[in-house]
């Protein structure tokens, strides 16, 4: 019975509990409010129904009452607002060190790739208890990444990244929906999120299918496209040194300071002239149309990896990397 006629969605992430708590609070509050109003209406309707010889009593109004029933709700609203905002703030702030999964949405399919390189379509395997950050982009129209059991939803936009994160708390298989109308097979753009126990997840991960991590794929593309000629690991390059760049503040030529996040790296690859790093010339060619979304994701993953392992990073930026380059070709 429960499976065919559920009345409450599965609760499988840390966020789900806090969303449910606020939801239950609001349901209780609404029930109370409507009960109060409906009771009053019914009582008045019965008590003051028209009777012979009893005239209505004309009442002008009451400023005190008006202020009371404006101010009390206002206070309640402040509570709801703050409560909802706290949850939202957490939902939109991915914790540090989260496992990253790159998602490319297209009409009408989800393409997902793990940091370790595994690719999945319309299916996502994640372990229980680990923070997972989704880096989402779309190849065509706007989609929306929605996992009801995690209570998360994030629109997936073409031309930029959006992010979402969750920490699964319970193993199981859950719905993945596209929640933003995207054309003919919108309702067919569904999949599942499989939450595994850590051991099972490791087994799944080692099950193969990955051709190198995303960062190493990115490194290959980086070399293939000749990026390393200018973006060198020393200070001699004609482009900025990318080691340790990610997440840092970048001083631009026009005086602005921006944070080197995923969207910055993306924009700097596709339309380099948009933000010129201070001290460098706008000589980088435009890569819009030359790299697809998956390659772009790999490049972003690679630039990020330059933070985590300085040694590995250096190897990618120096001529030592030649052998790897040949491997690509």
């Amino acid at each position: 019975m429960f499976d065919t006629f559920p009345l409450w969605p599965a609760r499988a992430s840390t966020t789900a509990g806090s969303v449910d708590a606020l939801f239950v609070f609001l349901v209780a509050l609404s029930a109370l409010m409507s009960l109060a109003i409906f009771t009053m209406i019914v009582v008045f309707a019965v008590r003051y129904r028209r009777r012979k010889g009893v005239a209505a009593e004309q009442i002008e109004g009451s400023t005190a009452l008006e202020i009371t029933w404006s101010v009390i709700p206002l206070f309640i609203f402040v509570v709801i607002f703050v409560w909802g905002a706290v949850i939202y703030f957490k939902e939109r702030t991915p914790p540090r060190g989260a496992t990253e999964i790159y998602v490319v949405a297209k009409q009408w399919m989800w393409k997902l790739q793990h940091e370790e390189g595994q690719r999945e379509i319309n299916e996502l395997h994640v372990p229980v208890g680990r923070d997972v950050k989704m880096i989402l982009t779309s190849q065509d129209v706007i989609h929306s990444f929605y996992v009801p059991a995690f209570r998360i939803k994030q629109d997936v936009l073409p031309g930029r990244y959006t992010t979402a994160w969750f920490r699964p708390t319970r193993a199981g298989t859950y719905h993945l929906f596209c929640a933003e109308y995207c054309g003919t097979q919108h309702s067919g753009m569904i999949g599942q999120v499989v939450v595994l126990e850590p051991a099972q997840y490791q087994a799944w991960l080692s099950g193969g299918g990955a051709a190198g991590s995303m960062a190493s794929n990115g490194q290959n593309i980086f070399l293939q496209l000749g990026c390393s000629t200018c973006h060198r690991s020393d200070t001699q390059g004609r482009g900025p040194n990318l080691a340790g760049l990610f997440g840092k503040a970048v001083q631009l030529e026009d005086g602005r300071v921006v944070t080197a996040d995923e969207n910055y790296v993306r924009e700097s690859i596709l339309t380099p002239s948009a933000k010129i790093v201070s001290g460098f010339k706008p000589i980088m060619p435009v890569f819009q149309g030359l790299v697809n979304e998956e390659q772009l994701n790999a490049l972003v993953a690679y630039v990020k990896s330059l933070n985590q392992s300085p040694s590995g990073a250096a190897s990618g930026l120096t001529p030592d990397a030649k052998p790897q380059e040949q491997k690509v070709q």
């Binding site: 990244y161 959006t162 992010t163 996040d261 995923e262």
Partner: protein
Amino acid sequence: MSEHIVSVKANVAVWLALLVLTGVTTGIAFVDLGPLNTIVALVIATCKALLVVLIFMHVKYASDKLVKVVVIAAVFFLMLLLGLSLADYSTRLL
């Protein structure tokens, strides 16, 4: 509401002022004032618009406050559109 008839002199004065301001705004665009260039251009445009609204469109002489309210309300709502949109665009991170 009796109509106010603006003198030819006043009208011509406004017209001359508008022409002068047009010249000024074009000229000053070639002077480097940094970010002030945009502000100066918009201030001059607003002065011109005010001249037209107040004198040419007779708002200054309107005995009825309603017209002023309508103008101010429309500008206010336009500012809401621009301002609240900017609230998003100026603080977007990811």
